[in-house]
Symmetry: C2
Subunit: 140 residues, 2 copies
């Protein structure tokens, strides 16, 4: 199984404050933004940094104590989400949220915690076109 | 200033345990490894996941309480390290370690904490060839 990180989601205490630093002060142009909800910033070829509120991440995972960040792997089909999650579980990871339809977008996703404590989001989102270079297009 | 994430360093509690999961169980082939010290795994075009012990990261930054992860930006020259750090500081980030020669490799690096709490390592390492796609070659 190929492992890949397409999105690094920072679980920020305050989305407005994070936008003020990365977008306003540092001048990083958002790739895609839902005001008050999430900001995606290109961080190189085929990779994004996501700014997402801690409370929203906790709700999305379905836990009380959200991680400070998660690593996102984007899949090309709903079936691939299940395959990646199964491979990670077989290798010793804990599934925090079984593959299902996400609340925030159409598609399929799951959250997994690896033994050393990192949370991964495994996602299929038809709004993201994924190829060898990772995510190349966002139909926002 | 272009912002980019080239390396996602996971501050793992136990490097052997992290290697057992990512390398042995999941079958992720290391791009570069210093046994007992650090493991780098390709995570897509021009990007790496680094496994690095929490205690070693604390020592490298020079703080007692290390972050759970850091985001690495690789620069093409020592001067670029200083420029990126200055831009981040001007935008409101806190410099945790001023640009200097690293203990672990030749070159120049610094650690910066952004307002929402993420630690970034800004690095120039002549052993990494950096181009538009990020890191493409490791002369390990």
């Amino acid at each position: 199984m190929e492992l890949r990180v397409d999105v690094i989601t920072l679980a920020v205490p305050d989305l407005d404050e994070a936008n003020r630093y990365y977008v306003d002060a540092l001048g990083w142009t958002p790739a895609f933004q839902v005001p008050g909800e999430v900001t995606f910033l290109w961080a190189g070829t085929g990779r994004l940094v996501g700014l997402f509120g801690r409370d929203d991440l906790a709700k999305d995972i379905g836990i009380d104590d959200p991680p400070p960040f998660d690593l996102g792997r984007n899949c090309n089909s709903p079936e691939e989400v299940d395959e990646v999650v199964a491979a990670m579980r077989d290798a010793g990871a804990t599934v925090l949220k079984e593959p299902q339809r996400p609340a925030f977008f159409d598609g399929r996703h799951a959250y997994v915690r690896t033994p050393e404590g990192t949370v991964w989001e495994i996602t299929y989102n038809p709004g993201f076109a994924v190829d060898d270079n990772g995510i190349r297009q966002i139909n926002g």
